[in-house]
Every structure is written in structure tokens, then in C-alpha cells.
Amino acid sequence: MCLGVPGQVVRVETNDLGMTMGVVKFGGISKEVCLMYTPDAGVGDWVLVHVGFAISKLDEESAKEVFATLEAMGDLADLSEPPDAKG
């Protein structure tokens, strides 16, 4: 069960049971999400949501790493090379 969707926290509150709940925005829509497992996620932070629960706070610095790696690979010399190398 792995579908995790990244979204941005827009509201944080606590319910009667002491559970941290909130509203998370996903590209133009918002939904109520349980934030009790990402206690350090505040408004503006990005979280990964799975079946209505935030399971991690996304680390923006680490997120950039793959793009740094790509840059280090240099420009694609031959863009017309077919991606499908299998016969």
C-alpha cells in the first residue's frame, strides 16, 4: 500500500482526542489529513500523505539532490537517441 501524494500544509489544529489534524493542499484542492505522525510539520511545509495520514515531512534539500546529479551528468549529447534500447 504505497500511494503517497505530496501536499502542502495550510492549516494545523488539535481535535478533542488530542490528535493533530490539518488541511493539506494538493495542486488546487485541499483535504483534511491527520498530522499526528508529522508533529514538526507546520503551515507551509510539504508532507507525504497516504490514506489520509501524513507519514513524512518532505525534505526540500534532499529533494534537490537528484537534480544536482542530473546536472552533473551534463547535457544530453544526443536527444534523438531512442529511449527503448531493447530489441
Binding site: 500500500m1 501536499g7 488546487g28 484542492i29
Partner: protein, 351 residues
């Protein structure tokens, strides 16, 4: 991709299903099977076998389009409309998909005991407003009431007749390799708008169903592209994917789409991501697919875009001679995948 890879269907007799399933109404494979194995053989006539959105009858030198549509949507009222306006637009659109101007509609209502009269008043008012905006009268109807618990508040059937314009010939089998595939605007809006009510999704700018009458849009299109328009169809239940599969099957051609060209709004994308749905299979209203000869494609697209309901129209693919009966899509990252018919309703993906 060689042909034999696509020979994967296995016809299963209807008798394998002792009960009707929700999937039989989903617009996918089971719906198709119900039609092919039960209705068509039972009613057996050439007009029915065309299986387009409406039937076209020749009456004294004129062509009469005849179509029926039933509406069972829940909730009855949703952002952008209600079952009443949906029903009127739906049948007007079925007639438009035959290239016909609507002449008259009928309204059959099945009401559940206990439905608040105020709700019924609202729905009827909606139907009146929708019909008068199009300029088509609702000339006859029927009402029945069923016991409490035996109906979802209201079921509506709207049947319509219209006159097919001269100089056009719309039929699925006219789709031919080289034709362009156009869509009149952003997809999956209606289905997501409905689901947003059910699932408590909030949209920054409220997502409103795109239910609308397409007769004006189609008028403008046909005035420009006339008989170069080969197929028109509105991708309702089952979404763009199911409708294109139907056409590909009926015309025995292949269809090739490009994912990056399919217009999807940010809000709908976000909703589909978190609900685990593929927008290609989500229901649309107020949208149509156009299959048009390549030489008229640019003009057709411009005609669509010049109408308020077609502002986001786009060219999303083409008809190809390969893999007849199948729809294939080039993904955002370049790979090719088959866009198959689903068995029934799309189930949300959790993983």
C-alpha cells in the same frame, strides 16, 4: 508493437453473471457486453447496430435523430447543477453528437416516496431553465412514484428528437487513419465535482460540474468543418478512455494519444492523484470528442476554441492503422502504453 500482442480478449457469456452488478453500468467492458450480448440481439435491427449516441431515421427525405438517456446521479444536487439540468443537457448533447438540432424532449420521472416537494420543484425548475436556454420544449412526459427505499430520490429519463443538419455524415465507422482526435476542453471535471461532494474534498476555486448543452458548440464546428467531421461523441460514463475504445472498436481503427496534450486542470489532477484515479476514465459532461479529417483539423480546433465552452479545446491524438480496436498512449516520459477498457467502475488505487 506487433498485432498478436493485442489479441487478449476472452468472450465470457453473460450467463456467468447471475446478478446485475454496478459494473454493468460503468461504461466499460461489462456495459459493452450487456449491450452486445443482450440488448442488440434481442432488439435486432440495423439502426440499433450502429450503436452511436442516437439513432438516425430517414423520414420523408429528412433525417431525424432520436436519442434517450437516463440519469441516476447521486447526490441530486451538486456544484454546477442537479439531476434535472444534467438530464436535459445530456439528451441535447446526444442529439448534437448525431449532428442534430434538438426539436423536442420528453421527461419521464420516477420519484421516491418521501422526496421533499421543494427538491422536486428545484429539479423541475432546473429542467425548465436548461431547456429554455437551448430553445427546446419539453413536450410530453410521465411520472411514477415508488415506495420509500426503492429509488434514490429521483430517476430521470429524457428522450429527444432532432433534425440532422444537411451536408454532414457522422458515424463511428467514418473514423479513418490520419484523422485528428480533438477534445473540446479539460477532462474529468464532472466526475471529480461529484466525488468532491461525496469525499469532502475542498477546492480553492470550487470545482463545478461542466454539464452544459453542446448544441451551440457543435453548430459552430459543423459550420466550419461540415462533412470533414467524421465522429462526434461525448465521453460520459467511463471517461475519454472508454469512449475512444468504443469508437476504435466500432470503426476497427487504432487510436494514438499523447498524454502531455490532454488538457487536465490542476485541481482535477490533484484530486485524481489523492483519490488514486486515472482522469482518462473519469466521467465528463459538457465535453465532446471530435474525430475530423486531417485537412480540416486546424479549422475545427479554431472553431471549438472560439466558443466559450471550447476555450481549452486541444488536439490530443490521431487515428492510426495500427493495432485496430485499441487505444495507445505516448506517456509524459516517452514510453508507450495501452489504454484499455476497464471491466467496470474504476476503483481508486491505494498503492
Amino acid at each position: 508493437m506487433s498485432d498478436e500482442r493485442f489479441d487478449l480478449s476472452c468472450p465470457v457469456p453473460l450467463s456467468n453473471y447471475p446478478h446485475v452488478l454496478l459494473a454493468h453500468g460503468g461504461g466499460g467492458r461489462l456495459t459493452q457486453r450487456l449491450i452486445d450480448q443482450l440488448f442488440v440481439p434481442a432488439f435486432d435491427n440495423a439502426l440499433l447496430s450502429e450503436l452511436h449516441d442516437g439513432a438516425v431515421l430517414n423520414v420523408g427525405g429528412k433525417r431525424l435523430a432520436f436519442s434517450t438517456d437516463s440519469f441516476v446521479v447521486k447526490p441530486l444536487f451538486f456544484p454546477g447543477g442537479d439531476i434535472g439540468s444534467l438530464a436535459v443537457h445530456g439528451t441535447v448533447n446526444d442529439l448534437a453528437m448525431c449532428g442534430a438540432r434538438p426539436l423536442a424532449l420528453s421527461a419521464g420521472l420516477i420519484l421516491e416516496e418521501g422526496l421533499p416537494m421543494e427538491d422536486l420543484r428545484r429539479i423541475v425548475g432546473s429542467m425548465r431553465d436548461a431547456a429554455s436556454k437551448v430553445g427546446v420544449p419539453i413536450v410530453t412526459g410521465d411520472t411514477k412514484v415508488v415506495d420509500r427505499g426503492k429509488g434514490d430520490g429521483v430517476f430521470v429519463n429524457v428522450t429527444g428528437v432532432g433534425l440532422v443538419r444537411d451536408g454532414i455524415e457522422i458515424a463511428p465507422r467514418r473514423a479513418r487513419p490520419g484523422d485528428a482526435v480533438l477534445v473540446s476542453g479539460e477532462i474529468a471535471v464532472h466526475g471529480i465535482a461529484i466525488m468532491s461532494v461525496r469525499e469532502g474534498l475542498r477546492f480553492d476555486t470550487e470545482l463545478v460540474s461542466d454539464s452544459a448543452p453542446l448544441d451551440g458548440l457543435v453548430d459552430g464546428l459543423l459550420a466550419v468543418a461540415g462533412e470533414n467531421v467524421h465522429v462526434l461523441r461525448d465521453p460520459t460514463r467511463g471517461g475519454v478512455a472508454s469512449t475512444l475504445n468504443e469508437i476504435a472498436g466500432q470503426a476497427n481503427v487504432g487510436i494514438r494519444l499523447e498524454e502531455s496534450r490532454i488538457p487536465v486542470s490542476e485541481a482535477v489532477r490533484g484530486a485524481c492523484e489523492i483519490l488514486g484515479l486515472d482522469p482518462l476514465y473519469v466521467a465528463n459532461e459538457g465535453k465532446c470528442l471530435v474525430i475530423v479529417a486531417p485537412e480540416a483539423a486546424d479549422a475545427a480546433l479554431a472553431a471549438l476554441r472560439s466558443h466559450p465552452l471550447g476555450a481549452s479545446a486541444a488536439r490530443i491524438g490521431e487515428v492510426v492503422p495500427d493495432h485496430p480496436g485499441k487505444v495507445v498512449m505516448k506517456s509524459r516520459i516517452g514510453g508507450l502504453r495501452v489504454v484499455d477498457l476497464l471491466t467496470g467502475e474504476q476503483l481508486p488505487r491505494i498503492c
